[in-house]
């Protein structure tokens, strides 16, 4: 069992509903492959440090999951490549320190970025 974390940026042209649907689509890919989805975070529309595809903002999303299948990351990334609304993605393996760090992050122990905590509260309410 390995834990992974993937961050991807969606096209800012999408409506909020479309962005939501796209995220759900990727979560479904994971659940279908019997991966355990630990955390889904929406950071919302964020300004990027440099333009990608001539766009200066993007919807940032984060999915944390655990799986035993070594092929799943490949299938997920193929899905990312197929979807034109995904501008950038990054999948990383989490080591033991990262898992501890992420667990603390989820609890909101690092409240440097207030935006993230508010979005998470909305998720809990919804």
């Amino acid at each position: 069992m390995k834990n992974y974390e993937t961050v991807f940026i969606l096209n800012p042209v999408l409506s909020d509903d479309q962005a939501k649907d796209t995220v759900e689509k990727f979560v479904k890919v994971l659940t279908k492959a019997k991966a355990e989805v630990i955390n889904v975070e929406k950071w919302g529309l964020k300004r990027m440090a440099y333009p990608i595809q001539n766009k200066s903002t993007g919807f940032y999303n984060l999915i944390e999951f655990a799986t035993t299948s070594s092929d799943l990351v490949n299938t997920l990334e193929t899905e990312f490549r197929r979807d034109e609304s995904v501008m950038r993605f990054l999948t990383t393996v989490l080591d033991k320190h990262a898992i501890v760090y992420n667990a603390r992050r989820r609890k909101g122990e690092f409240n440097r970025n207030k935006k993230q905590t508010t979005t998470r509260k909305e998720d809990v309410a919804a």
């Binding site: 940026i9 440090a49 440099y50 760090y101 970025n113």
Partner: protein
């Protein structure tokens, strides 16, 4: 008058230390731009170990984190005046 070397005030030279070892930080988050900003210069280049005092082990992790942050456009690849 002959030229003399100025004596070095050794008390003023603070020994460098690795902040990760000292503070017990084990994981460097690539999603946190404010923290990573401490390890890059105005142009967005990664600062060398001899300036930050970071140990070899954590310098590699810092570099990895900065590169990841650049890929997802959290940090710029090149900049003019970051700070």
């Amino acid at each position: 008058m002959t030229l003399m070397n100025e004596p070095i005030k050794r008390a003023e030279i603070k020994p460098k230390y690795c902040r990760f070892k000292k503070n017990g930080i084990k994981y460097i988050d690539y999603k946190d731009p404010d923290f990573l900003l401490k390890f890059i210069n105005e142009q967005g280049k990664i600062l060398p170990r001899r300036l930050t005092g970071t140990s070899w082990k954590f310098q590699n992790k810092v570099a990895q984190a900065v590169k990841r942050a650049r890929h997802i456009a959290i940090l710029p690849y090149l900049a003019d005046s970051l700070k």
